[in-house]
């Protein structure tokens, strides 16, 4: 993975840059000490590490605005960072760039039940929002597994999901507004407390833009009333085909479960060995279907799901009859990553989405690839929306294994695209999948996306080297190639 060549001229001006930042953020808010900078050298994709030129931790929107303006004037790159849990290297620092940490923006500004929303600063954690409104029986729906640590600003930048997003949507479906600072220091507000923002849906573009369009300095999220009840069904199948068929049949029956997760044999065994959730060990696929909502609805649907499962050849079906039992069903799934961590020194978590019907084909090909690369793979799967999380097991201490794991991972993601899916369902492109973007998109597609970036950041200073495999100057991208009078479109019907 190649990052843009650091600009030695910028590195040479480090002292002046630090001084300029100190004039904006006094005291300990500007970090230059190498040992302290280590804390920022990577995000959740730990294979990639880089010390930033300098880190700055502003605490006001005005400071953010002045930092960006100053950096733009000095031609210095900026990498935004929330909690650093990104799994795609989105927050990976640049040697010639300022790392802008949003960790001091930790306040919940306004909880407005009458408008069913909360206004928070971007450094508030995902779970922090739900906790703040739990007393009134509300919560913030998107629930990434990293929710204790990850920030809402990072969630906006990555358009994060969670196990409940089939029914409740990703971050983008649960946002009402943001305040955004552009690279030139301009502050804009997109949306607000009203449901429908006017004009172009820039909020929709900023969500999932991986820190390339602006710094999010305030977020207004929708909050929902907690479902009255939740019950889960644990279903085992002798084959993944049958598991997949069952998922399709549940959806065809008009049921959108709160959560619908699938695990394959290696994942089931690893999880069971770790937490003793009581999972059946003689099945190839295990499905957890959670129904949530009013009790009458949940009771009704539990029966229908169990009947569908029986029809699709389930060899074991257990329905939770208490909250403890429901949590026990989930315990294994929630611990799947650390469980796999116990059976292998390292693992690499992938994140592609496929049309669900391609599941058997994809799993078969993955088994072949696993043999070819000599690396084991365990699969957990957001089955409802086709979002696969293959965990590739490897040992970083064995020379070449990391590279093999990465090649294996790339092949899996190409396979996802080949069967009609996409490179990433929730973790983002970052640096990790950057060079695979050409597998999913044509040059024209990527150029149009980059032109859009130019509208926000014409000098390309915000988080460069992420998402797009090739960097172009905005002037070059904007050039129009039309020839006067060239086309007379003789064939187009006209009236």
């Amino acid at each position: 993975m190649k990052m843009p060549v650091p600009d030695s001229g910028v590195i040479a001006r480090r002292r002046a840059i630090v001084e300029a930042l100190r004039a904006i953020v006094p005291g300990e808010g500007v970090i230059v000490d190498e040992a302290e900078l280590r804390a920022y050298e990577c995000d959740g994709l730990t294979a990639y590490r880089q010390l930033p030129l300098v880190a700055v931790l502003p605490s006001t929107v005005d400071q953010v605005s002045r930092i960006l303006k100053t950096c733009q004037e000095m031609g210095v790159k900026v990498v935004p960072r929330g909690a650093g849990t990104s799994l795609s290297g989105g927050a990976l620092p640049l040697a010639d760039g300022v790392l802008l940490g949003m960790g001091k923006f930790k306040r919940i500004l306004d909880i407005d039940y009458a408008n069913r929303c909360a206004v928070v600063q971007p450094g508030v954690t995902n779970l922090g929002i739900s906790n703040a409104v739990a007393g009134e029986g509300f919560y913030y729906a998107p629930d990434p597994s990293s929710q204790i640590a990850c920030t809402i600003g990072g969630n906006v930048a990555e358009n994060s999901g969670g196990v409940h997003c089939l029914k409740y949507g990703l971050t983008t479906n649960n946002l009402l507004g943001v305040e955004l600072v552009l690279m030139d220091g301009t502050i804009v507000r997109l949306g607000g407390k009203h449901l429908e923002a006017g004009g172009y849906d820039l909020l929709g573009i900023v969500t999932g833009s991986e820190g390339l369009l602006g710094i999010v300095t305030e977020v207004t999220v929708r909050i929902l009333r907690k479902p009255a009840t939740a019950r889960a069904v644990l279903i085992g199948f002798p084959s993944s085909e049958q598991g997949g068929d069952c998922v399709a049949a549940i959806i065809a029956a008009g049921i959108i479960p709160g959560g619908m997760e699938m695990m394959d044999r290696p994942a089931i065994h690893a999880a069971e060995a770790f937490v003793h959730a009581g999972y059946p060990l003689d099945v190839e696929a295990l499905l957890i279907v959670e129904l949530d909502g009013p009790a009458a609805e949940v009771d009704h649907l539990i029966g229908r799901v169990a009947a569908i499962a029986a029809d699709k050849g389930a060899v074991c079906t257990r329905v939770s009859n208490s909250e403890e039992e429901r949590l026990a069903f989930w315990a294994g799934r929630k611990a799947a990553f650390p469980a796999v961590g116990r059976i292998s020194p390292d693992y690499y978590c992938m994140d592609g989405t496929i049309p669900r019907k391609a599941l058997p084909q994809v799993l078969t090909r993955m088994t072949e690839l696993s043999a070819r690369y000599g690396l084991r793979v365990a699969n957990v799967f957001h089955a409802g929306d086709g979002n696969l999380h293959p965990l590739i097991l490897y040992d970083a201490n064995q020379p070449g294994e990391l590279e093999r794991a990465e090649s294996f991972g790339n092949d899996i993601l190409r396979l996802c695209v080949e069967v009609g899916g996409v490179l990433t369902g929730e973790h983002g492109v970052g640096v990790e999948k950057r060079d695979l973007m050409t597998d999913q998109f044509d040059a024209a597609d990527l150029e149009q996306q980059q032109r859009l970036k130019c509208a926000f950041d014409p000098d390309g200073l915000l988080n460069p080297g992420k998402v797009f495999p090739t960097l172009h100057r905005c002037a070059e991208l904007g050039r129009l190639h039309v020839h006067q009078g060239e086309l007379r479109f003789p064939d187009i019907p006209r009236f």
Partner: protein, 442 residues
Amino acid sequence: MTITTLKPDTDAQLADAVRWALSAGESLEVLGSGSRRGLGRPVRTTHALDLSALSGIVAYEPEELVLTARAGTPMALILPLLAERAQHLAFEPPEGGTLGGVIACGLAGPRRISAGSARDHALGMAGVSGRGEAYKGGGKVVKNVTGYDLPKLMAGSFGTLTAFTELTVKVLPAPEDTATLLLFGLDDVAAVGVLDRALRSPYDVSGAAHLPDGLAARSTVSALARAGGAVTLVRLEGFGPSVAARVAALREELRADVVLDAPESRAVWREIRDVGCLGGVGDGGGSGAGPGPLPNPPPPSAGEGADLYARLTPSPAPAGEGWGGGQGGQGGDTPHLWKLSVPPASGPSVVAAIRRTLAVEAFYDWGGGLVWLTAPPDSVAAIRRAVGAQGHATLIRAPDEVRAVTAVFQPPPDPLMALTRRVKDSFDPKGVLNPGRLYAGV
């Protein structure tokens, strides 16, 4: 001036047409089926680009929850197809026009509060930009964060960024059953308070509207027409046993007066979606200079639905028929229709502020967050002042000559307007596609 309409049969022809316009310095009015040309800022172009020939279902996979169709596919084809598999577009779009038009207008009905808007269901797109280049964005699966979420930007872009050729949308199971609780005689503030309680309840409310005194009487549903005053409505949808249980619980909690059964419930929410009690959003008809409006396709479902639709258009509007902008020259003092998007709890106070200077008729949807109102001409300033910075107001229905000189869409503050222009330029640097439809000069 006569307008030539170009009607490409293929994507390649569409790209040719845009490239020709670029090279010749011409501009194009982008039309789905042209069903609602009399809405938005009128576009002054020499040519129209009719995309209705780019029509047809590409792929419909109910179990994958996705539908891919050519952008010019009539909604009248899509909705019955989904209904056959007990699915629907959950954002409750209007039944006319094309899929491209629905996405381009970013429309949503009463279920906006629980299911989101067109933007939340737009998964993938392909089209030709104002640069004459074919490109695609998004994907064809329900969960995707690869690259910028261009389908969202396309939703509500009113044909000013890209002429769509193909769209992929999320489809969802349609509710098996539905019922609506009615409360009679509440004033606006009390009504929005009740809607707030309903929306804060754990009963998954999917419609929350209030028709003040006088407006409910115009309904075709007898329980409303005969209510003799204001009617507040709360909709519950889902599986039969679930709806029954929630209706019972919420009826008790809100002390609702009446429960509408499924057919009446569907009829009343269709009226609310289509703004029936204020005369409908109008079907426009363009400037009169063009080829004239193409006929609105008939509503999909036969029987009860079609029947109701017929009764609604023209609807029992206060000033009779002839509301569309297409009747361009009609009387100068006919009320104009406005759509206000505000924080739900502020709906009544915004309307009260407007009422201090203007005689308006208004009703609320989205728990108070969507206000439809008719106001006399020349009310722009007063309405926008009342809305302030907490939302925005769009002029939906008014004669062409009024919309031509009015900021139909509320202009954003300067820095956001500058960004908006740059976004437009990044897709359409020469202003070939629908110049001025959204804002003057954009």
